[in-house]
């Protein structure tokens, strides 16, 4: 599976016709989103938070791509750009239309975006705040169908009932309001709403992060089942590496607005090529007390860099245990280190980094 770094073609139709390209549902190219930092009475711009700074990756039809990284690294911002909840500062968000053409969603206005808002849907992190408390569940789930004139009356009600049943909720409860449901149930409602319009791409931003352990497994299983059933493609944003490992086919690791590594899940976890990925993996607590001694936890010094004022060269260099002189001077490009495995580190080939073996041991 290819990641990106394709031919750099800038046109908005995929002309090269290769099998891989046909398969690409979402092609994010050099995406940038900077937020201005203003000061003073005239709100003069004195700098920018480079929340997302030149990232490129692809999502293939039917796969689940994980976007992982620490708080503030730009995951949500990237997701919101793809949904066009934000205007882009730069780059392209190419989406494969029904007829196979790649359309750049970047420059589209609200009206032009309409058909794509049905095809690209979002599941939110917070099941408590993302549902309108004054709407009964039937409206929350049914509104997208009504607004887009997909169904009305009895048919609408039937479709809502079927959707609710599919996500494991009792259709009888559809007259109830969100407050009457638990966190896990609200997340199911959110999923039903996202699925109402038969979307092709679902962006799930921390969709299970707020849920309790025992309910999280239910929702993760549901998300997996629905993918098979409806041939869904997911961009799954999460900071939780064990969840990412379970649900994703491929993983994109971000650090301070940039992509530092992209690979298939197995590869990324077994053999990371970027020191930041290695540190992330080692920081995840292992739920087995017998692993305590074996484990050499890499404790990173200091904090995540500030995206308004990132360090020179490799953004990770102030915290990297393998840092060399070159690292503070030159910014490493994202390069293909092994087939389909990309990393942005000057020394990716030389370093022998520690991943997680399939038994759960670090090795």
């Amino acid at each position: 599976m290819s990641a990106q770094q394709t031919n750099g073609s800038q046109h908005s139709t995929s002309a090269n016709g290769s099998a891989a390209a046909d398969n690409v549902l979402l092609d994010v190219k050099n995406l940038q989103k900077w937020f201005p930092i203003t000061a003073g009475f005239f709100r003069r711009t004195i700098g920018h938070v480079k929340a997302v700074d030149d990232i490129s990756f692809q999502v293939l039809q039917g796969e689940t791509v994980g976007l992982v990284g620490e708080s503030g690294c730009g995951k949500t911002t990237a997701g919101r750009c793809i949904l066009r909840a934000y205007d882009l500062t730069g780059g392209q968000v190419l989406f494969q239309d029904h007829d196979g053409k790649m359309v750049d969603l970047g420059p589209l206005n609200n009206n032009e975006m309409k058909p794509y808002r049905q095809q690209v849907r979002m599941i939110f992190q917070d099941p408590f705040n993302s549902l309108n408390p004054r709407m009964p569940v039937s409206d929350i789930v049914g509104d997208p169908l009504k607004i887009n004139k997909v169904a009305a009356g009895k048919e609408l009600e039937d479709r809502v009932a079927a959707l609710l049943a599919r996500v494991g909720l009792r259709p009888e409860y559809m007259r109830r309001y969100p407050h009457a449901f638990s966190g896990g149930e609200r997340q199911r409602i959110g999923i039903a709403r996202a699925l109402a319009l038969d979307p092709r791409l679902v962006v799930a931003d921390e969709a299970v992060s707020a849920l309790d352990v025992s309910v999280r497994a239910q929702i993760l299983n549901l998300i997996k089942d629905l993918q098979e059933e409806f041939n869904l493609t997911y961009l799954f944003v999460s900071h939780d590496l064990s969840v990412i490992e379970y649900i994703c086919d491929r993983v994109v690791v971000m650090y301070v607005g940039k992509i530092v590594e992209v690979a298939e899940t197995e590869e990324l976890f077994a053999q990371p090529f970027h020191p930041y990925t290695e540190a992330l993996l080692s920081a995840v607590p292992n739920p087995d007390p017998r692993m305590r001694q074996q484990k050499s936890r890499i404790v990173l010094e200091g904090d995540v860099a500030d995206p308004a004022n990132p360090p020179s060269g490799c953004y990770f260099h102030p915290r990297c245990r393998y840092v060399q002189d070159q690292c503070s001077l030159e910014t490493p490009e994202l390069r293909e280190i092994a087939p389909g495995h990309y990393a942005a580190c000057h020394f990716a080939e030389e370093l022998t980094l520690t991943g997680v073996t399939a038994s759960g041991e670090l090795g």
Partner: protein
Amino acid sequence: MDTPVLIEIKNLKTHFFLDEGTVQAVNGVDFTIHQHKTLCVVGESGCGKSVTARSILQIVDQPGRIVEGEILYHRPDRLSGVGLSEDLPSPNGAGGSSSTEIIDLAALDPRGREIREIRGQDISMIFQEPMTSLSPIHTVGNQITEAIKLHTDMLDDEADEHAIELLRRVGIPRPAERLETYPFELSGGMRQRVMIAMALSCNPALLIADEPTTAVDVTTQAQILELLEELQDDFGMAIMLITHDLGVVAEMADDVVVMYLGQVAERGDVESIFHDPKHPYTQALLKSIPRLGVSRTMQRLDSIRGMVPDPYNRPTGCMFGPRCDHFMPGRCDAINPPAIQLGDGREVHCLLYEDE
């Protein structure tokens, strides 16, 4: 192996009296915290972890109160009578302090002098969101020195020095300069460190940490957990660590208490809880978590069906009954399982073990 007992909680019940009804947030909890050891309390949100912790310090929010039970604090000698060591770090000598004084914290007046003396000096607490315990309008230095001066007879200069030493100890770079900063100028991880510094300012016998890493990133979590381990080695305090993350439990705990809906499901040493769990809830919980390195090969996670019942609709009999695969009709819905001792300090609340 076992160090002397520090806190013994017996049949603790803390309820909230609301218009809608009574929430039995903590409903008959027993466990023991040993000196210098780490006890992890694990369970899903709303199971009563925080209320248990707040009961120990008598800081339960209105309209809640302890309605039954004992919280016996075996006060180590060095703390009986005030006067704290000014040196830092000052390990308080493992096992050396035979406890003399036993105080039932549950019986103290929440606003009385005794519990106020114990708070901060004997037992201190850190929270999930540091800003709830740090004041936004005072400098970091001010807040730490105030905490120090409240419980010791240190003078301004001494307190300042002690504060700098503490900040250095919790890994804050350029600690002297940091005295002048305000909490909002610090990152989440740094704030958490400041809060830990404050909590340790009087060298407490017990540090209660309520989800101290839930709101921070994994790499910051690794820093904080490592720090807590180091500080425990240096200061020798016991830690009661509250978390819903089984990974954190496995890395930190000596002993574990698994809670469900206001009650203890089971407790024991960390090795047994993870490798020989007895309670169906613990067993199911351990199966339902995605594990790094393992989950990529799994098609599906085992999940626990249903959800935690809401506090006004507690099941009859066993709290876990409606979700339990071993549910025995006529028994599990009739009897609230008592504590069953399995030896080696293990205890389970499940009727499957009744005849053992």
